[in-house]
Amino acid sequence: MTSSIDQQHQDSQTSVSRPWLIVMLREITVKVRDKAFIFSTITTLVLIVGLMGFSAFLWDRSSDYTVATDSQAGGQVVQIADSMLSDGDSMTAEQLSRDQARDLVADGDADAAVYQEDGQWVILVDTELGGTLNSTLSSAIAEFSMATNAERAGVGMEELRAGSEHRVEYLTGGEDRGLTTYILRLVFAMLFYMSALVFGLAIANSVLEEKQNRVVEILATAIPIRELLYGKVLGNCVLVFAQIGLYAGVGLAAANVTGVAADLGWAFEAAGWFIVFFVFGFAAQATIWAVLGSLASRTEDLQSNTTVISMVLVAGMFAGIMAQGPWLAVASYVPIISSIAMPVRLLEGQAQVWEPFVALALCLAFGWFMLRLGEKVYQRAVFQGGRSLKWREALKIEQ
């Protein structure tokens, strides 16, 4: 026991082997205990689940139509209409006298009434004829009439229908996804913008806290100062990835539970790319925030010196939401901004297979350059109290 303490005493004389790991772990543990962090994460999760639930409600809302009629023929029309409706929906006939049918529609107990008057079909509604009801009933009436006429003329239904089948082809995509694509663009853009800003500021504040309180001087005697930078950047990267992973996981689970997944399946590939780009894009700009924290001398300084990076992020967000064609294509190669723009192009099926890899490589190169430059600035600036510094000024400081 005592000899192990001697040993321990010896060991304590050498510096730790992976200081960045200890710094990283502290960064993470402090943050996951932070009430504001927990609260914002839970709020976002609730929003995601809520959004999925809402979409499911929009997609899945099953309609049961009640249609009143006064004849056998009307009942058949409703039956045909029912078979034309999509899976969730149904239409039932209520066979009564014509006056009762009118009353039912007037009271709102039936969505419509169908009957024949003077050899013509009538669709009776109270104030408004919904699109689905209109089209299905109209088609059903046409179908019914055709069948009746065909029978009367002695022609089979199949012969009558021959050559009338058609199919729909889309130039892009498999079905109309305009709105969903737009919503996903919005979600990608907002998620990246918010995460980069929130976690970026967290990195800057964490650096500034150590600078202001001079803890950094104690830390500098224990470990090389760049290890501190690595630990902070990595710690926050891990946090933000865990958070985005959690969002994606919960979103996916909610999509499956609510049944939205079947409708959204086509978007998952782009969403997967978004996460990859998110990781690279966030990491590439994380060092910048650490450096900004080291350049500031008070919290107020952060407001002014983070303007440029905030503007870049805003630009990236707008490019992601609004840019089209060549603008979007250019944006999808600019590091940081590409984190939104490239997944958007993938979402819209505009990008070639090799394009995301090139964009990632550019992002990686940019991130590497920022880390090397940032290290130099950080090491100098973090010991300079008193006033806020500029990048150039900090680089000129004799360490």
């Binding site: 309180n213 001079r214 104690i218 005697t221 224990a222």
Partner: protein, 316 residues
């Protein structure tokens, strides 16, 4: 488990203070730092001996903090060197030091036990070791029941204690403390001194800066007086005192106005039956005492200069 060790290791609580075989000697040689055209620390040299407490004194802006920061590697050295047992100091040596910077504050929003654990880990302890040692130190400072509190909720004096704990966690091989006693009440100073003495007993050299000259006088084995970036005087308290001209106090039954005009006697002050004098040689002493016996000699004592006096004299 607790069998006595032949090499005389003392156990205190959970930690063993092993007297190091030779201790550590910390030395700066020709240390210089310039900022642009201004020389803040100008070619200074001194050493801090193993197991000794060295006071670093000087006015604000004398260069104390800059020197300490250079010693700890926080600031680059313009020229000169910092030596550890006679060889250039390495990063590993520095990591083994305990350092308390001038403007203080650890992490205000983290619990004190938690952050001490972290600082210990960065010094190479395991998390468990660091927490155990932090716990022990906090209990010693009567902060055991506040270990879960955030640092910012503690009084300034208590925050300072936590800061000291941070410097001592890893059984440092040397201590460099910038104004460790400022803001502490006398009891707190005493308990901290007691703690430092335990570390000195195992050969740890302690360098601390202070404005409180009486404290430095009371605590230090040696001192370094810095002014305008230069060392004005350094050495043990006795060496410093001996380097000053010795003065004496003479008190007799009768008036001693006669001291004026005696050969070899420099009179600093005469007040009725009492005088303060400096003597050129033994002849002068002999003559003075002879004459004093006639006046009814009551007292003749050496006046050792206080540190404050030496400080004022050298920085004048």
């Amino acid at each position: 488990m607790e069998e006595p060790r032949p090499d005389g290791i003392r156990r205190r609580g959970s930690v063993t203070y092993a007297p190091s075989a030779q201790g550590t000697q910390l030395e700066v040689r020709g240390l210089t730092r310039t900022f642009g055209d201004t020389t803040v620390v100008d070619n200074i040299s001194f050493s801090v001996e193993p197991g000794q407490m060295t006071g670093f004194i000087g006015a604000n802006g004398a260069g104390k903090t800059t020197t300490m920061r250079m010693m700890m590697g926080v600031l680059k050295v313009t020229s000169g060197e910092v030596l550890w047992n006679g060889r250039p100091i390495t990063r590993t040596d520095r990591a083994a030091c305990g350092y308390m910077p001038e403007e203080r504050g650890l992490y205000p929003k983290q619990s004190i036990l938690d952050q001490l654990g972290y600082l210990g880990q960065l010094r190479g302890l395991t998390r468990a070791e660091a927490l155990a040692e932090a716990q022990r130190l906090l209990e010693r400072f009567s902060l055991g029941d506040r270990k879960k509190d955030k640092l910012e909720t503690l009084s300034l004096g208590n925050q300072q204690r936590v800061q000291v704990a941070a410097a001592l966690l890893h059984q440092p091989s040397a201590l460099v403390l910038d104004e460790p006693f400022s803001g502490l009440d006398p009891t707190a100073v005493d308990s901290m001194v007691e703690l430092l003495e335990e570390h000195m007993a195992r050969g740890v050299p302690v360098l601390f800066s202070s404005h409180q000259l009486d404290l430095v006088d009371r605590l230090c084995d040696s001192m370094v007086i810095l002014d305008g970036g230069k060392v004005l005087a350094s050495g043990t308290a006795d060496e410093l005192r001996d380097s000053r001209p010795l003065r004496h106090r003479l008190r007799c039954a009768q008036d001693v106005g006669w001291v004026r005009g005696m050969p070899g006697v420099t009179v600093e002050d005469v007040d009725g039956c009492q005088a303060t004098v400096a003597l050129a040689d033994d002849d002068a002493r002999h003559a003075l005492l002879q004459r004093a016996l006639d006046s009814g000699l009551r007292e003749f004592t050496d006046l050792k200069p206080t540190l404050s006096e030496i400080y004022r004299e050298v920085t004048r």
